[in-house]
């Protein structure tokens, strides 16, 4: 299953500058594994030992996976995943 993943600006150094990449898997965890294979280093930026890092949110469509099934959230063809990190700039 091919899922579109939106890569935020701070992580694009790991995707060769691409703002959207495709990954396969039937759950968010599998997608992250596939992303790591294709773009080594990405998983560490998204996850820590406890799961998704607390300053990053992963969305399937419009919904935060913390309010779905977390990393076990199922994804299907046509779903889009957004990685949304905390951003602090304002000046």
């Amino acid at each position: 299953m091919s899922i579109l993943v939106r890569i935020p600006t701070p992580l694009r150094s790991l995707t060769g500058g691409a703002d959207e990449v495709f990954a396969s898997g039937s759950t968010v965890a599998e997608i992250v594994d596939d992303l790591e294979t294709k773009h080594p280093g990405l998983r560490e930026r998204l996850l820590d030992a406890k799961g998704v890092r607390r300053f990053i949110n992963l969305y399937v469509g419009e919904e935060d996976i913390r309010f779905l099934d977390g990393l076990r959230t199922a994804v299907k063809d046509g779903d889009q995943i957004s990685i949304v990190p905390a951003v602090a700039g304002g000046a």
Binding site: S82, A86, A88, G89
Partner: protein
């Protein structure tokens, strides 16, 4: 066809239903649902009107009524000073297809004599009516809304990239008091995006420069300068007097401080943040603030991001760069949210995060939910005081 004024009035009286003032008062007291339409001139309305009335001077009735009262079957009671203009207006409404119109008999003069409740709409000066005329034409703002704005107090955190466009539009809109918190001085490298400031003011404290610009734009606005950095020590004092906080700060420690103060003190925060070509905007209305504002509470910043990133994973603000114009887009979205909160109009961004990608010109919307395990506003909050996080890019 009537040929004289007397004939006309006889005809109009026949075609319209009269409503005694006592009965009108009873309906208002009972909370009956109907539109109360005041067709007197604006200066008469300004001297006092029946509470809840919509004002359309009779001369504008045909032009404006279908826009203001689109449901032609909704019950309408029209009044004027003595009952003549309202009867004529009621006949006009019937001609326009309104099916349920009554005219109050006699009218406002008698209503006042009877000691029935009246309200005096806010009195804007002639200069203010001219300045805000495009707001006054909007039914969602009008004189009452403009007066609310003039009485409102907004605290802007940062007179930089986001604070510049936000404060300019809030000042232009006539928000009566703008507090500006910023400890920095104007630097040449700010001018690519911080449109409050000018080349001739390089080296000047940003709050001083901001106050100059804003007062020159709109002398109605009282600008309060806070040449200091928001800290755990001054958060309570700075937030205390304000209705809405616009967060345009530039670092994670302050963002979390803003959030925790907003939760503790019950202040709505309009959040904007920027990074290179990307922006995020949302509105946080924590429970205490929602209770005061009479709206539903939403998530807080910690529901979204429970903890700040460690410094080595947080991109440094100065190194990252930012498209100057991005600040304009995000800051004006923040100003829009602030104005809507102050006017209590429209749908705010509570529970929604707008992400803006200027390179691809895409706005996206993500749902934000309250996290029951949130350390600040969850079911069992663990946060009891302010936390001073250290070690981020502190300089803007």
């Amino acid at each position: 066809m009537p040929t004289t004024y007397s004939d006309l009035m006889v005809d109009v009286r026949k075609r319209t239903t009269q409503l005694p003032l006592e009965e009108l008062k009873q309906r208002l007291d009972q909370g009956d649902k109907f539109h109360l339409l005041d067709v007197r001139e604006k200066d008469e309305v300004r001297a006092g009107c029946i509470p809840g009335a919509i004002s359309i001077p009779r001369g504008f009735l045909e032009i404006q009524v279908e826009q203001r009262l689109p449901d032609k079957n909704a019950p309408i009671v029209v009044y004027c000073a003595g009952g003549i203009r309202s009867a004529l207006a009621a006949a006009t409404l019937a001609d326009l297809g309104y099916t349920c119109v009554e005219t109050a008999n006699p009218g406002f003069v008698r209503w006042k004599e009877l000691g029935f409740p009246i309200e005096t709409p806010p009195n804007l000066t002639q200069a203010q009516r001219e300045r805000y005329s495009r707001h006054l034409l909007l039914p969602e703002v009008g004189e009452a809304g403009q007066a609310m704005l003039l009485k409102s107090r907004v605290l802007l955190l940062g007179a930089g990239g986001l604070g510049s466009p936000a404060s300019l539009y809030l000042a232009a809109a006539g928000v009566g008091t703008l507090g500006i918190v910023d400890a920095d001085t104007v630097d040449t490298s700010n001018l690519q995006r911080q449109i409050l400031h000018t080349t001739s003011r390089v080296g000047m404290p940003k709050v001083v420069s901001a106050a100059k610009t804003l007062k020159d734009l709109n002398p109605d606005v009282h600008v309060i300068e806070y040449p200091e950095r928001l800290t755990s020590k001054n958060a309570d004092r700075l937030f205390g007097d304000y209705d809405v906080v616009v967060d345009g700060t530039d670092n994670f420690p302050t963002r979390y401080l803003v959030n925790d103060a907003s939760v503790f003190l019950g202040k709505p925060v309009v959040h904007g943040s920027i990074f290179r070509f990307d922006g995020q905007v949302t509105t946080f209305v924590p429970e205490k603030a929602a209770a005061k504002m009479g709206i539903a509470a939403g998530p807080c910043y910690r529901c979204l991001y429970p903890e700040p990133p460690p410094p080595h994973l947080a991109p440094s603000c100065q190194e990252a760069g930012v498209l100057g114009i991005l600040c304009g887009i995000v800051g004006t979205l923040q100003a829009t949210e602030a104005i809507k909160l102050l006017l209590k109009k429209g749908n705010s961004l509570v529970g929604r995060l707008i992400t803006y990608d200027s390179l691809n010109m895409k706005f996206r919307e993500l749902r934000l939910r309250r996290d029951p395990s949130c350390p600040a506003c969850g079911v069992h909050p663990t946060l009891t005081g302010y936390i001073d996080y250290e070690g981020f890019c502190a300089a803007g």
